[in-house]
């Protein structure tokens, strides 16, 4: 189980690197998005860039979004497993309680990420229909993941040095 955790973590990191790498490669060739990777943070730019791409690239991105659903399952499982195993070894009552909360937040992050992906798939569909902003769900997702990681570190780091 311990090794599975690290293998999954490696898969997550590689996948994320690949995903960001592809995104920045696509963007740097587009004149109006020559800020490269920074444009990933401007949703309107992403949508207009997407619709300006050749169909083959569009298909590539949409299929990557589909793969992202599997990625969501993997990282959620990883966060839940990590929090659960950490909970089994955390003697501080309040940290133990926060690690238990992580299980809920992990599920919440996964749901928010799925909704975000579904909005992206909708916004990338052709012909272009009403554009919805996925910001709220993105915020929830990163908020939850950030909180989970902070709690995990707060629990793990002191135990590591103890």
């Amino acid at each position: 189980m311990k090794h599975l955790k690290y293998i999954l973590l490696l898969i997550v990191v590689l996948f994320e690197t690949y995903f960001i790498g592809i995104g920045s490669t696509l963007l740097k060739d587009i004149p109006q998005c020559d800020e490269g990777i920074l444009m990933l943070f401007r949703y309107d730019c992403i949508i207009s860039v997407f619709h300006g791409l050749q169909p083959i690239w569009q298909e590539q991105i949409v299929s990557m979004l589909h793969v992202d659903f599997i990625f969501i399952l993997v990282y959620t499982f990883l966060l839940l497993l990590w929090s659960y195993l950490e909970m089994q070894q955390q003697r501080s009552v309040w940290l133990n309680e926060l690690l238990r909360l992580n299980i809920l937040l992990g599920i919440l992050a996964a749901v928010a990420d799925c909704i975000e992906n579904m909005i992206l798939l909708h916004d990338f569909s052709i012909p272009v229909r009403t554009i919805y902003q996925p910001d709220v769900f993105s915020f929830i997702k990163w908020g939850c993941i950030g909180w989970i990681v902070v709690v995990l570190l707060m629990s793990r780091v002191p135990r590591f040095f103890a």
Partner: protein, 393 residues
């Protein structure tokens, strides 16, 4: 010789008959306890449950997802146990090996940190677990997993928790109460049971008279029969481990610790609230909350909430007293420093339950701390220790 055997068998039959008819004395039960063998206990089980043991064991077997979750949690715990052992844990003078067998108070397979989770966090303790959420004492004793486990691991301590599911499983709690209150207190099953009266006359805990008097006319003779069966079952386990059945025991240095739950709380409350960190309460209440205690009592027409609580109060009070008294019995036999009991009665208050029968994790932790004190032989100020009893306060 044959005549003597026949006389003994006849006496045993008489005592078993008295037990199942709720008419056995304290001395009679002790005599039966000493004389009863596995077949006798099976015979009593059959009479108490109205089913032969094999059929009963088939009915109560833990299957499916619960079995997998129990196994998964035990395998994680046992991995940590082996990790400690691999680091020459047994060479450390202060280190102790603990073997646990029990129910969901010792292995709550998801989300909650149960008693054993907290105990296993202690660096000086290596805990091997074969506990399973939902397990009956009857099943633990029949499968005898603990015997193999104890033989292999030769632990310093054996922690045993069982009986809760035998009372609350399969709606059996309905059998433990009368449909109608006995009209006079003197007609109650308790008043006919000399052993139970002896238990209360010599009780360690102080009974709340109002609650007792409110509930006792509702408790049926089936409850007392089950309680006496528990005593025989626990005694057979303790005796075999401490004394040995035919030869000297293999476990000369083993210390055994029992526990008897807290006053369980019948409820249908779904547990929704505004505290996000208690999100697991409504989630876990989907599993069996209300069906273990509240529903069987209502089947018997006991709808008054206070009466429901009082009935569970009396049952848990007596269950603890039975275990404490059994511990004293071993003290009298000279095994006093090898049988202990963790008394957590009145420790968990109304808002501190995850569901009807499981406390919130921080309450489990306090109980686990008493176990650790007991294992380390410490009497902590403010937590009275009386003979073989460690009280959670």
């Amino acid at each position: 010789m044959a005549a003597t055997d026949d006389e003994e068998t006849l006496e045993k039959r008489t005592l078993i008959g008295q037990l199942t008819r709720n008419g056995i004395s304290h001395g009679g039960l002790n005599k039966l306890m000493e004389a009863a063998n596995v077949d006798d206990i099976q015979e009593i089980t059959k009479r108490v449950f109205d089913l032969n043991e094999a059929d009963l064991l088939r009915k109560i077997a833990i299957e499916g997802i619960f079995k997998k979750l129990n196994t998964l949690k035990n395998s994680q715990r046992n991995e940590r146990y082996f990790a400690k052992i691999h680091k020459s844990f047994r060479s450390g003078t202060d280190n102790k090996v603990v073997f646990v067998e029990g129910d969901s108070w010792f292995n709550y397979p998801i989300i909650l940190s149960d008693i054993v989770d907290w105990i296993a966090m202690d660096k000086k303790l290596a805990v091997y677990s074969s506990a399973a959420g939902g397990d009956w004492l009857l099943n633990m004793l029949a499968t005898r997993e603990y015997v193999d486990g104890l033989s292999i691991h030769q632990p310093d301590f054996f922690l045993l928790s069982g009986g809760g599911n035998d009372i609350a499983g399969m709606l059996r709690l309905a059998l433990m109460v009368n449909v109608k209150k006995t009209s006079r207190e003197t007609d109650s099953a308790f008043r006919h049971n000399l052993w139970a009266q002896h238990l209360i006359e010599h009780s360690y805990g102080t009974v709340d008279k109002n609650r007792w008097e409110n509930a006792i006319p509702w408790i049926s003779k089936d409850f007392f029969a089950l309680l006496m069966l528990f005593r025989l079952q626990y005694y057979s386990v303790l005796k075999n481990l401490l004394i040995g059945s035919s030869s000297p025991s293999k476990f000369q240095d083993l210390t055994i610790i029992t526990q008897g739950y807290d006053y369980l709380l019948p409820s249908f409350n779904s547990g929704w609230g505004i505290k996000p960190w208690l999100w697991y309460v409504p989630v876990l209440r989907w599993i069996g909350h209300g069906k273990w205690l509240k529903r069987p009592l209502m089947i018997r027409g006991i709808n008054d909430e206070q009466l429901q609580k009082d009935i569970l109060y009396v049952m848990v009070f007596l269950f603890n007293e039975m275990l404490i008294e059994l511990g004293h019995y071993f003290w009298q036999k000279g095994y006093g420093n090898r049988v202990f009991h963790i008394d957590s009665r009145d420790w968990i208050q109304e808002g501190e339950w995850t569901d009807e029968i499981h406390p919130k994790p921080y309450k489990f932790k306090a109980i686990a701390d008493r176990y650790i004190d007991c294992i380390n032989g410490k009497a902590v100020s403010g937590h009275p220790v009386y003979k073989n009893v460690y009280k959670v306060l």
